[in-house]
Subunit: 328 residues, 2 copies
């Protein structure tokens, strides 16, 4: 029997999840839950119901894993504990500083419901976290570097859009090539915030807005831009819609470490992703881990889990024998 | 209490294990076992006994994990099953085609002894295998590429040394830059053996040997060289010893995959390592997994395991709370 997936929230992540389920031979989409009027939500998959979230409790027997596709700021802190009492769930909670608190809330709820609840699945947190953990365990005497991009930062784009006179804006985070090369060279450079990333903004102004003031406000914005080299381009709306609607992203995780009786040998581990679609890649990771959630639930496990807790084999459709024969 | 590590075999891997244990705050070296006369083996760590392997059965209560540092051709197929009955063990068995058979033998022995036995730990098999499995689970519709090097291939160096007239030889496997770039570009190239790697040989001839014949024999050697672009350099013994005694290695694992309703989005995952010392990096991986072996044994698990079976958190000295707070 296929694993029955439910999706809560049909934005970019919800759509990505739908596509990832369709690509997984061992899964099927059971229902999409929405806070909107279900008749207003058109999904890609034929014959799958769109259901108002108020009805979700009727589905507890019809869904193996519920994928929570809300945002980390306000949706998931409420939704994940709530639904972990009723369903095996998985989320992509990505507010790093609040992960311990979120884990605690979700863990208590999942144990109460005797369910498995995975949190913070995606690429960062997620695959990047995995790479940091593996590489730190292997090279205890070393240095970590994480770079993001090139890709849109939603938070920084929002910050620019809040400036008076700005009609629309996208902000790209771009790793600096010199910094990447310095890390790859094994020099273990000390890199400041400014050394690592460039911030590039594409801004559509409202009529009559003052270019120079907007540019100055962007470049001097504390936390968001003041510590970076920032480039600002003013463009018109047509160009904005044509060239800046993509969802590409990516990034790099490095660990450089020393071994040897006299620490004379240097090693560099580099993990790099380059993505045409940030939400579709994120949900591809989520669906692989949804497979693990189902397997843990079948084993009778309950409580909150992260990527650190899951044996890699649990992500796979193949048997252990097949994995050893073909991937080891 | 620290995890007590035993080492069987004091070659490059044994020495690397010793150094990796010294770098691990939660481990200590209990003994080195050797087939040689123990008095002829000088180790780096003060106060640790070197013991003849014939005495190893006296140590079953004094060692938590025994690291088997023999070769895959003849040592490990015998040693790992033998010692898995007596100790928790870990090996770096790397004959890919014989892994299923080795796993079966070791699994039976470990279960008989109620021990945990990890096989095929290192970087390939090992970290590269992990990356293949994660990336295949995440991007089911895609293509895998593995490149090795730049680094010495022991098997190919041996093959050159067997040619009449050759006094000494080293063979470097080198990934072709054009091939790496073609993969990174997202073109999903079909790459032949010749496209992916260059083979570069440094050869010291015996007096009076025929250069041209040796070069021809190398380049035409079936399986080893005939399908590759091979470059042969003849050098003198001094240069050979000065420039070709290093143990650097490295490699790349890529997966490129498509997502989207119409498979319109491409993603590239690249994992790359660059190592000054192949044996010291390999044993750093082994020691991280020795930590997992101890934890599994403490949980009462028995049988053979591979990297696919181990939750990443088990490799770490940190608690789960610390990992979530600092690495997720």
């Amino acid at each position: 029997m296929k694993t029955r997936i439910g999706i809560l929230g049909y934005g970019n992540l919800g759509k990505g999840t739908e596509v990832a389920v369709a690509a997984a031979e061992d899964m099927e989409l059971a229902a999409v839950f929405t806070r909107r009027d279900p008749s207003s939500v058109k999904i890609l998959t034929d014959g799958v119901p769109v259901v108002n979230v108020d009805e979700i409790e009727k589905w507890t027997d019809k869904i193996d894993v519920l994928v929570l596709c809300g945002g980390s700021a306000t949706d998931l802190p409420v939704q994940t504990p709530r639904y972990a009492k009723l369903f095996n769930v998985i989320d992509s909670f990505d507010t790093h500083a609040r992960i311990p608190e979120h884990f605690g809330n979700v863990d208590a709820a999942a144990k109460e419901g005797n369910k498995v609840a995975m949190i913070s699945v995606g690429w960062d947190p997620g695959l990047f976290s995995l790479n940091r953990v593996y590489a730190n365990a292997i090279l205890p005497d070393g240095k970590d570097y994480t770079f993001w991009g090139k890709g849109v930062s939603q938070g920084h784009s929002d910050a620019v859009r809040r400036i008076e006179g700005v009609k629309n804006a996208k902000q790209y985070t771009i790793p600096k090539e010199e910094a990447l090369e310095a890390v790859r060279s094994g020099k273990n450079p000390e890199l400041s915030t400014r050394d690592k990333h460039l911030r590039e903004c594409f801004v559509v102004l409202k009529e009559g807005a003052d270019k120079d003031r907007v540019e100055k406000e962007i470049k001097e914005m504390p936390n968001y831009f003041a510590d970076y080299d920032t480039v600002v381009h003013f463009i018109d709306e047509d160009e904005f819609l044509r060239d800046h609607s993509g969802m590409a992203h990516g990034g790099f995780v490095f660990r450089t470490g020393k071994t040897g009786a006299n620490k004379e040998n240097n090693h560099i581990i580099e993990y790099r992703i380059k993505l045409d679609s940030n939400p579709e890649f994120t949900t591809s990771v989520i669906i692989a881990y949804a497979r693990a959630v189902k397997r843990l639930a079948d084993e009778g496990v309950s409580g909150a889990k992260t990527v650190f807790d899951i044996p890699p084999a649990y992500l796979c459709t193949q048997t252990d024998e097949e994995l050893r024969a073909h991937f080891l």
